[in-house]
Amino acid sequence: MRTIQISGGRIIDPSRNLDGVGDLWIGRGRILNVGEGYDDPEVILDARGMIVCPGLIDCHVHLREPGNEEDETIATGAAAALVGGVTSVACMPNTLPALDTQGAAEFIVLQAQRARKANVYPVGAVSKGRKGLELAELGQLVEGGAVAFTDDGAPVASASLMRQALTYARMFDRAVMQHCQVPELTVGGVMNEGFESTRLGLPGMPAAAEDIMVARDIRLAEITGGRLHIQHISTARSVELVREGKRRGINVTAEACPHHFSLTDECLRGFDSNFKMNPPLRTYTDVEAVIEGLKDGTIEILATDHAPHAPEKKLREIDQAPFGIVGLETLLPITIKSLIEPGHLTWPDVIRALTIEPAKLLGIAKGTLAPGADADVTIIDPETRWTIDASKFVSKSRNTPFHGWEVRGRARTVIVAGEVRYTLA
């Protein structure tokens, strides 16, 4: 494979505390070196004014295949990832049928290889059929390529099953990723419960539904010694609980999604289902707490919860429309706007939360520019101004709350396994 010189960019690699202008060399699908030393590259990519970093990793996406190919496929989702600067995604098991067997995991891996876009890592179901009753064959899922377990789309409601999952997954050193929500407190809910839901007459989902399960699962992680990962954390109290759990040395990590630190439940006033997600948009206090959690390291990971839905499904009465929004192609600009521009996080902070931290969570040898590592590299133009236009998404779906936003920054060139797989037109 060809030698590539990415020249003159600001190279940021938090895995090695690297942040400086220089050249990055790639050859035979691997990172060769940062700095000087190689003659006659076959390709030179001029990266002056750009940020060069390990390929971004999104540990929380829904690719809808098999079962809902009208929303997204592994190929279209993996292509949308590249547009967003993301070279690796972990896909959730709420497909039809559920991703709960070795064969189902292998299908994902195979489809991703065929697509030749971003790397795709399957996350296996915790329970058979995601029914929350009995453990899925976690060991065989690992053999099929599963990098973690979750019943996402829904929580593992049973405390006893969650305890078993955290205990059993220890032998593979794999995390259990939990959509934390006490289901009986959110039945029929459409949005965050509070003044806004009351004013709009919409059934609410109280923050306490999340807090209670976060508290429960942190305690279960403590007694089992298992690895607990809190998905899409959205409430102030949950952030506080994770902070306290970490202080006590419990093995808990957390991720935050761009919509949860850029939007609030006031956005529902127009009854637009593109603001309907689960967990729901919360209040200003919660948004501030999530940002504070990102700043002090309580929340170490950024993820999108990319949840594509075909327009005919989203264009419904708000209680009929499904939860979720697409996120891959808006991840960087919304993060820049909400976290970097106001000065909450630096570029190295953001890249850490999108590279080495999710790589550690998923236990994959990615997220670094160390010599010998897989040559997954994202080149970001941090300054370019553009307008988000859902009709131009590479994803099959258009369900974004950010359509029409004036933003800054996007991926310019994306390299996977030493191959340039995406270049901004």
Binding site: F271, E317, D319
Partner: protein, 318 residues
Amino acid sequence: MNLNPAPRIPWTRKHLLGLEELSREEILAILDTADSFHEVSTRNRKKVPALTGRVVFNLFFENSTRTRTSFSLAAKRLSADTQDFQAGVSSLTKGETFIDTAKNIEAMGADVLVVRHPTPGTPHLLTQHVHASVINAGDGAHEHPTQALLDLLTIRRLRGRIEGLTVGLVGDIGHSRVARSNIHGLLKLGAKVILCGPPTLVPRSLERLGCTVSNNLDEVLPLCDVVNVLRIQFERDQKAVFPSIAEYFRLYGLTAARVERAKSDLLLLAPGPINRGVELTPEVADGPHSAILDQVTNGLAVRMAVLYLVSGQKTDPR
């Protein structure tokens, strides 16, 4: 009567979706217009040609008799053609989305769509997909603007004013679109609003709108000039929110004994349909304080006014 009602401000809205987005002046404009139309109901010939040739469609995705009938009759008195569409007997049961349904109906030439739907925001969503005027005839627990307007009209006609009055809304506030529209309308017109019912039915967060919340009807009742009794919605599962009808009636039922301790000129409203013996006793419902039947008559005038205003005033009503 002036048959060319001239609102105090020019009416510019194409839709009536709720009272929250209306200004005080816009609400007064509707009430003034309704006053003008009120007289039409008392004539032998109960009809004006204001909307001749216009088509008003009642698009009801939820059961309703009185609101639908009232809108139909109001449209007919304005000489519009009216047609009802009732979900359940239609293609909705065959999987058509409500937006497609509405577009089909619009293609039949509808100028005004009167929409009732169990989901909040559905009339709002519809305005983005059709060219016709949309009138919200009740969207879930969100708003029911014409009901609140007829309540306001009834208070104004019977008490001569709204400003400075204390109005108690009693019962299931949380699930009530009537409550929300009343709160917005009453506060904008300068009334004091007290919400009263069990805590499971009265969200405290509504205090942020400027209301007072109470759980004690006997404390609140003597303060009220007007009490609006909201229906317990038995179609919802209420078991979780209060233990029994008997207990609810004991705590919040409007009995003759309770009404005796109220102001002597207390005005009693109920949006109906009422559950006699649950929210109020028959002698109270039919008693001297009750304005329940005035509300129905005023409802017609309010709906004529709203249909007239959203259709634009290009037509000379004579």
